[in-house]
Symmetry: C2
Subunit: 546 residues, 2 copies
């Protein structure tokens, strides 16, 4: 029996029409370093129409890919709207990828056009000759003549190209399961993998961002989107803002603590989103340059685990609650959000808030052990987290002539294998303890590398510590700790081991230690444990063992 | 280009699993007149599984219809979950329909089973012999032996039928566009019309109920659902509550002001939903029996326009904001919600709050005039409201052997003609001024019957007044006012006309007046203008004309 409901698609053209008409007076506010430039959503709608006409004039048709190599600003937001709404596919290029990754993703996605911010022209120029399908580069917010294009590539000025284009565009009707946008994961193994979001998945995800169990983004918010628009769609804020009429505050390239503090003071946003390192930096700045930031009703932290000390500092010293969330490029990224249950009080609330959070109804979750068995939700049993739902990837982009790649290491039976290891409480709160590839499998038991790192980093002489598993004949694997000593301090491996003795189970105590000047990092600032393991196996590390 | 997103359906089986697992500790609380009986969502999940097994045991298969003839209580909620999740279709029977309408809808939907509350057995018994497809009646919360069944109908005790059934059910995977639930509109013309909601439409609508631009239903809420579960699915509260883990407070049959006040005192809900007459009654009760109700963070009012005086009384005397909303059975029902823009202050906020509200992104709206032309959103141009979206009906149920009825009077070109007439502001706020069939078309201009009614009811001697258009040779139509005089007062038509003289445009001043003991009402308590017009044309009204 069929329902009698209407059958129209969920589409970004509909979102664009809604946001720019019903919420015409809301604004995208772009920071210029000293002041803000403002565009109402009504004007943004016209801007997006001009951009769509300009892209058509360059031959963009069908589902061709349009790359962006941009900061968070009004021009990037116009591309977020115009490109999918015209039926093409937005490809946000991560400006922090290594050159070989950058050319790989542009070629794999077959980007036809790239829109680039003026200040990023030098970075793009180094890679452009390797991008074989790019025919046009549009330079926004800067001087197009600064770019010497390789043969076969035409360079355009964004302003000149859009000038005189019509303010309205006949946005086509699009099947909701069509591609709208794509983003490559900067995985630490192999080539980057493409995740392709649909109009449907983005629509549903945008609703979720505005729901009570997630970020509660609302019309009365001004949302500071520090998380880059090339990182998992800036966690969904741009589209969600258009959906409910929240204003968007865009920091452009001004991501250091002092300019962030300045734009907080000038624009007083009510909501913000960024990874922990941004908040760590801001906290240090504020502690020496006090400023009232209580206009922030809440800030969401994800990308990596938020340290409890950071959460307490923001709440107790600045009156700003940090909302902890978990997600990844493959999950659009909203996976779980740590809003404590109403029944929790006092310290209990903090306990819930430290976790990675609870799953919304659209995200189903399970924990799977080494034998493929599902584990209980008892906050003790540990397994690899698997998720499924309408904004969760079921495969990676297989290129224009290939079906999505099934990739059984990541996807099986309708579930995404997240590669994250953890436990879930009876009331559905997720606590991640490690990455599956980093967990140390010692004598049939799992040792969390992250737990060990946190314990070692608790020592006052330690600036950073990374723990990896190294092969062991007897136990399969044993932990190796790579320590960065704090400037002006000194400590020995033996002292650190003694320090750990009453903090971790005896069988988890590491025998292998090395001191390094710094922990290698990935392009997104996470510990690059693959490189530590490689250095170890190449014999490049000086190991203390006892 | 296809996205790489997973392709699973949005379904009520998924909602059931989520709500009863992740929000296992949340509760459905049913009022018994003096105290509450409580069931956790974990237990509700087992309850729903037992009900599904019981229904299967009665032969319910495929998409057969299961009717409910029930108050708002835990058993009705179990049916909301079990029936659609098992693949069958829930048909909520409106207990206030006239007998011929009730048998019509049960026969048209071909209900196979009806679940009835004990206290409603006498009412159902009167109609049961006319319900030709009903084979089983299940009596919940009462004595099954009190029902003498017609031949071919078996009567069951709910408790006995469910006892011993398994606590788990293998909920099937269902296409998201399949029928989940149906509700007939109690229109004032012709037979009731069936609206069939899909798993998809209910899922999306439930998300919307929890979004910042709608009711903001949240895990920390206890939601008092006064609006009946047979009226447009209790405005979506039951499913939305399971989605985010809000507890549900169910008043069962205790809908009078005193018991509502008692259950407010006992359970201190944070949110509530009902039509204006309920709030009017509660207000009168509270004014003579003061009670703190500030635990209500917000109450939503819809079904008919909320009088501004009611909104002020609740907010200023009891600290409870009334949230005005518009919708209808055909819109699931969430259409628009009156949350003022952040920029509005003071009296401006009230101005926005009196309106029917703003449309969420999923509901597109337009105003159409007599010539089929779209009108501007300038808060002046008046037209019939048309809406479209994923939880808006595109037709009526055509019976099991028919496609959905296209019904061009209600549906055209992918839009629902709401039958409501009004205007929309530039920032998207809807103000309804009349029903399309009640607007009075006089000399090419439209006179709002509702505006005239409100003006006449402003006179201290008037208890109620209804205005209808009657045929006029010169002007096509002219207004007729039917007045109910307040007890102990007296007033003449001439005095009322003088009273109106400086309140409405001269050409709108009514020439035709009649005094009646009461205004006839529909089964849902609205003025039944069809009956007033019929009385007029049958010459049954005593008209003063001047």
């Amino acid at each position: 029996m069929l329902s009698t409901m209407q059958d129209g698609p969920l589409s970004l053209a509909k979102l664009l029409r809604h946001g720019t008409k019903v919420h015409a007076a809301s604004e995208v506010i772009t920071w210029t370093g000293s002041e803000a430039r403002r565009e109402t959503y009504a004007d943004l709608g016209k801007h997006a129409a001009r951009l769509a006409h300009a892209l058509r004039s360059l031959g963009v048709t069908g589902d061709q890919r349009v790359g962006t190599f941009m900061w968070n600003n009004a021009e990037h937001l116009a591309a977020y709207l115009a490109v999918p709404a015209m039926g093409a596919v937005l490809h946000t290029l991560n400006i922090r990828l290594f050159p070989e990754q950058l050319t790989f993703v542009a070629n794999h996605a077959e980007d036809h056009v790239v829109i680039v911010d003026g200040t990023l022209v030098p970075l793009l120029a180094k890679n452009l000759s390797g991008m074989k399908t790019v025919k046009h580069v549009i330079v926004a917010n800067g001087d197009a003549s600064a770019l010497a294009a390789p043969e076969g590539v035409t360079v355009h000025s964004y302003d000149e190209l859009l000038a005189g284009q019509p303010d309205e565009f006949e946005w086509p009707e699009i099947d909701e399961r069509s591609a709208a946008a794509m983003c490559y994961t900067s995985g630490t193994t192999g080539d980057p993998k493409g995740v392709v979001y649909s109009h449907r998945s983005i629509w549903l995800h945008s609703m979720q961002v505005c729901m009570s169990d997630s970020m509660r983004l609302a019309q009365e918010d001004t949302a500071l989107a520090i998380v880059p628009m090339f990182h998992a769609m800036s966690w969904g804020l741009p589209y969600a803002a258009l959906m409910v009429g929240a204003s968007l505050l865009m920091p452009d390239r001004f991501l250091q603590p002092a300019p962030i503090a300045a734009l907080l003071a000038a624009e007083k946003p009510t909501f913000a989103a960024a990874v922990p390192t941004i908040w760590q930096g801001l906290l240090a700045h504020l502690d020496t340059n006090p400023q009232d930031i209580s206009h922030l009703r809440e800030v969401v932290v994800g990308g990596s685990a938020a340290p409890p000390a950071l959460m307490h500092a923001f709440e107790e010293r600045y009156g700003v609650p940090i909302l902890h969330a978990w997600g990844m490029t493959e999950t659009s990224p909203l996976g779980s959000v740590a809003r404590p249950p109403a029944s929790a009080t006092g310290e209990q609330r903090w306990g819930y808030r430290y976790t990675q959070g609870r799953f919304p109804a659209s995200v189903s979750a399970r924990l799977i052990d080494d034998d493929g068995q599902e584990r209980d939700w008892d906050n003790e049993a540990v397994g690899e987290l698997e998720v499924s739902g309408p904004w969760i990837a079921g495969g990676y982009y297989g290129g224009s002539d290939g079906a999505p790649s099934p990739d059984p290491e990541k996807f099986h039976g309708g579930w995404l294998r997240t590669g994250d290891v953890g436990k879930i409480s009876q009331d559905g709160f997720l606590t991640l303890t490690d990455r599956a590839k980093d967990v140390i499998k010692s004598g049939g038991e799992w040792i969390s590398s992250v737990d060990l790192e946190n314990q070692v980093m608790g020592h006052p002489a330690v600036a950073e510590a990374a723990v990896v598993g190294i092969p062991d004949e007897k136990w399969d694997e044993r932990p190796l700790v790579a320590v960065v000593v704090r400037e002006g301090e000194s400590v020995t491996a033996e002292q650190l081991r003694d320090y750990l003795a009453d903090k971790v189970a005896k069988w988890q105590l590491p025998e292998n230690w090395t001191f390094v000047p710094e922990v290698p990092k990935t392009s997104v600032g996470k510990f690059d444990k693959k490189r530590i393991r490689a250095s170890y196996s190449e014999g490049k590390l000086d190991i203390s063992q006892f």
